[in-house]
């Protein structure tokens, strides 16, 4: 029994497993950064949608409807690739000479000097930005709807107190908006958490990639077969991990909603 325990303890703390545990930071970072960016893009999109200037309004609604009309994976893959190419194109217009252009045989980049190598941190940031862009479109709609749910009387009262338009917006409108936006934003957050499982598609060695590597049949010449195909066990762990994250998020958002709703009589809380 103690032998067994010792085996499991050393198995679960070997170098590869420690790397796996460490790779949770990528997922957590992408979720938090993506979530924050989604709220920022959502606020920006909702402001655009509320604008009195027609072209801005059009930009806001086109952004929210186009991004939501295509699968999130598509945009998630497209944005980092397109951004990388755009940067390389810009570098190429600066550094490439006719000689280097002629020397390049591959289709892309235009010349070898223009190649921009992306490591894990860069991809992680790009992935977070694209999560923010995709789910910002969802948040745009949520925040846009919430802005319109704030009772008109509250805004009129604020104006009657002599507040300027900016003061009304920042001190009353946006503060009261959160009560109505939080249920929707909680949904968006759940979507972001689930979308973080896609990080491995951008060559980030995240929890999914490591689960696949660790679970694959493991043969060491010194020991023999350590274990056969254990991938399903690792994926089961991830499955449970995500369910726990969802559970914790639900609880956290419930507490947040209670706190945001203090002193506000509203049916949005019930």
């Amino acid at each position: 029994m103690s032998d067994n325990l010792a085996f499991w303890l050393s198995y679960l703390t070997n170098g590869k497993h420690l790397t796996w545990y460490a790779s949770f930071q990528f997922t957590i970072f992408a979720a938090l950064a993506g979530g924050m960016l989604a709220v920022i893009f959502g606020l920006a999109g909702a402001t655009l949608k509320n604008s009195r200037f027609l072209p801005l309004r059009l930009i806001g609604s086109t952004y929210s409807s186009i991004v939501r009309g295509v699968p999130d994976v598509l945009f998630f893959l497209f944005f980092p690739l397109a951004f990388e190419q755009a940067v390389e194109w810009f570098i190429a217009s600066q550094v490439c000479t006719p000689e280097t252009l002629a020397a390049q045989s591959a289709t892309w980049p235009p010349c070898k000097e223009a190649n921009w190598f992306l490591g894990t941190p860069e991809y992680l940031i790009l992935a977070s930005v694209s999560l923010g862009l995709v789910y910002g479109a969802f948040a745009t709609n949520v925040i846009h709807g919430a802005m319109r749910s704030v009772p008109q009387g509250q805004l009129e009262a604020a104006r009657a107190y002599g507040m300027s338009a900016t003061q009304v917006l920042w001190r009353v409108h946006i503060r009261q908006m959160w009560v109505y936006a939080l249920p929707g934003l909680s949904n968006v957050w759940m979507l972001i958490v689930k979308a973080t499982s896609l990080l491995s598609l951008l060559q980030i060695a995240d929890i999914v990639l490591w689960a696949d590597r660790l679970g694959a049949p493991n043969y060491l010449s010194a020991v023999g077969l350590v274990h056969d195909d254990w991938r399903w066990r690792y994926y089961l762990v991830l499955f449970v991990f995500y369910i726990l994250v969802t559970f914790a998020s639900e609880k956290a958002f419930g507490a947040l909603m209670n706190r945001a709703g203090r002193g506000i009589l509203s049916e949005a809380r019930s």
Binding site: L77, V188, Y242
Partner: protein, 244 residues
């Protein structure tokens, strides 16, 4: 212009796979969802707990992980079960596993929609049906179900569009066999060939957008038929909710 038609033609066989995954999983998921929703509402604590747990687990975890988990689980039974039965060519095929996982996933999401609609069925109508002496089966068939499906239809349309979008990740999790590639894999391979991200991904997006519009149109027709007793049938908006 011809290059654009050629590009569209490259994706045409690929979209068939996405449509296949959606069409194969939607009817089964629909039926399973009805039972799951009734199960969640059941007075029997065991049935209720089990349905709740299933719905929570499959709504609370990413589809991508579900694909990997179920595929590796079936793979681990290969030597002990599928191979002796001579079934491995079938059970391990992406065209079987894909719809299987999608069915489980959409069943959970749809069950939550149906459960919400089930709670929203007017109590008075059910009581009236009871007062008429209808049996449980009759009550469900004549009163609850017609109400439920009408209440749930707009949200269900939304879910079907999301399911269709979810078919984009099937082949990122399952092996691509020969020429059986869906739209995303086609776009990715074309991109790796000539690095034209804007063209290939936009065309893929166009295909998804087009099929989503068709889904909205068809489901809108069904909704109109469901609502034909109303004086002015409420129009189905192009984008009802979009949150899954």
């Amino acid at each position: 212009m011809t290059w654009f038609i050629e590009e569209l033609a490259l994706f045409a066989p690929a979209i068939v796979f996405n449509i296949y995954f959606a069409v194969a999983s939607i009817p089964l998921g629909f039926v399973a969802a009805v039972f799951l929703a009734l199960g969640k509402d059941s007075a029997n604590p065991l049935i209720s707990r089990l349905s709740r747990g299933f719905i929570y687990a499959f709504r609370g975890s990413p589809l991508f992980i579900q694909f990997f988990m179920i595929y590796s689980l079936t793979l681990s039974f290969n030597i002990s079960l599928w191979k002796p039965l001579g079934l491995s060519w079938f059970v391990l095929h992406p065209l079987f596993i894909g719809p299987l996982v999608l069915t489980l996933n959409t069943a959970a999401y749809t069950a939550e929609i149906f459960y919400g609609a089930l709670r929203a069925v007017p109590r008075g109508e059910v009581e009236a049906a009871r007062a008429y002496g209808m049996s449980r089966r009759q009550q469900f068939r004549q009163v609850v179900w017609p109400n439920l499906i009408r209440l749930a239809w707009p949200a269900y349309t939304n879910e079907v569009v999301f399911l269709f979008h979810a078919t984009a990740i099937v082949y990122f999790a399952l092996p691509v066999i020969g020429l059986q590639k869906d739209v995303m894999i086609t776009a990715k391979e074309l991109f790796e060939r000539d690095y034209n991200a804007f063209l290939h991904f936009s065309v893929a997006a166009l295909y998804f957008l087009a099929v989503s519009l068709v889904i909205f149109f068809l489901f809108g027709l069904v909704y109109k038929r469901l609502m034909r007793h109303m004086p002015a049938a409420p129009r189905m908006r192009f984008m009802p909710k979009w949150i899954r």
